[in-house]
Symmetry: C2
Subunit: 264 residues, 2 copies
């Protein structure tokens, strides 16, 4: 889901639903593990368990790729690894650049999963002149001035942004102008890009906030019903048409009328 703004339907490219595409890497990982253990075939049931999905979904997913299984038997591991790899475009080499070599950028550069599976870190780029030339993950960091040249020389079409939020849009614009058409954004900002450019974002604080939401709910559990009935903890129930106290238009908060504004 993280395909960012401005670029839309992105619907099923050549018939494969987006949700399925997002699961293919999961299957591929599970299959690779099986392959390493020289397991020749798997059933949808086994593979689904390894990938953490249910088997009906997995079979449906695979059905979009074609009929690659054998009824009564299962799927040939090696063959599926190949098919999924090809479908994902991993049989070719994808040079990527990482822009912003701070803590996170360095972590990404060192991340092994990057190098495997068809991705190759073509360059590490940072705006800080003091970083230029410094070795990170066995590679010399290059200055932002070189960005366009690097993209061009290496035929880079995928860029990773690991800069502070403030710099992200500007970096993004330069990447796109230089020919990058897919961006993985770690900066906590919404990027705008022209049509035809894909953006996916990875956002730590968003993930945490989603967890907090569910966590909060767990704590409440049975108390919720009671509280809602009694105090009217928001929801349509709290739709007080006229504010009970305080002259303003709004301020219909359930636990006290004045919002306790969050710290920045």
């Amino acid at each position: 889901m993280a395909t960012g703004r401005t670029h839309r339907p992105a619907t099923r490219s050549r018939g494969i639903p987006e949700a399925t595409v997002a699961r293919l890497p999961l299957y591929l990982r599970a299959l690779t593990a099986l392959s390493e253990r020289s397991v020749p075939t798997v059933s949808s049931e086994e593979l689904a368990a390894a990938a953490g999905v249910n088997s009906a979904k997995l079979r449906k997913d695979f059905s979009y790729l074609g009929s690659y299984g054998t009824r009564g038997v299962g799927y040939d591991v090696e063959y599926l690894v190949y098919q999924i790899s090809r479908e994902l475009g991993l049989t070719q080499d994808w040079p990527v650049v990482i822009v912003g070599i701070g803590n996170l950028g360095a972590a990404l550069a060192n991340y092994g999963g990057f190098a495997s599976r068809g991705f190759r870190v073509a360059a590490l780029i940072d705006a800080d002149p003091a970083m230029a030339g410094k070795p990170v993950a066995g590679m010399a960091v290059q200055h932002t001035d070189e960005l366009e040249k690097i993209i061009d020389d290496n035929g880079v079409s995928i860029g990773v942004i690991a800069t502070p939020a403030g710099a992200a849009q500007q970096v993004c614009d330069r990447l796109v102008a230089a020919g990058v058409t897919s961006i993985l954004n770690f900066a906590p900002t919404v990027l705008s890009v022209p049509d035809g450019v894909d953006v996916r974002k990875v956002d730590l604080s968003i993930e945490l906030q989603i967890l907090a939401f569910h966590e909060q709910r767990k704590a409440g559990e049975g108390a919720i019903e009671a509280a809602e009935g009694a105090v009217g903890v928001e929801g349509p129930a709290a739709k007080v048409t006229k504010p009970a106290a305080g002259g303003g238009t709004h301020r219909k908060g359930p636990d006290g009328d004045v919002p306790a504004v969050m710290p920045a």
Copy 2:
């Protein structure tokens, strides 16, 4: 999307659809920015643009929280910030532990977005005895032996796993046994957890693979039709019932019969 295995329906908790919950942090961020610029109100149109969604979706999302807007005017920024914060459970403090202080763990520890918005790093934990006591992000790293005690003493319910894949499940088990009920997993593995525990995963290589899929498609463009017709690039068309060459059962690959197995 990312709610991990074993725990499922997870559907709408108390009426708010999961998809909406996932966008609330986005709105909150945009609203916080407006708040800092002292903007008093926003229309759904403006806010949607800032958050990178469309306005109908945003209005629908907000409608699940209650009727917090004013027709003909828009939404009160401060008020919405408060409502969303409360809905997400950010008006309380969430102590989190980060397990695995490698490159990534250190990056996370240093990540500012952590500290803001209700999350507090209660401890950094690593299995390497050599790391113990070392300062990272102004905090002394503690040894895994202390894990249970730390969780308990600090009332931690959210854990972040940034260990290598091999250690993740084991760490996860210990976190859960110690009382953690929400986990953010950066290790490239499927975690199994008992019912009632939420897992969200952030997986760099999966994101890249999804980008590669779309990237590949862009490159192909009009050529796809032709190629499929001519060579029979898989799809139902490639459903060769009997392998053309090579004795095996499968191996129906389009560009060469032997799968070019990926490197690990």
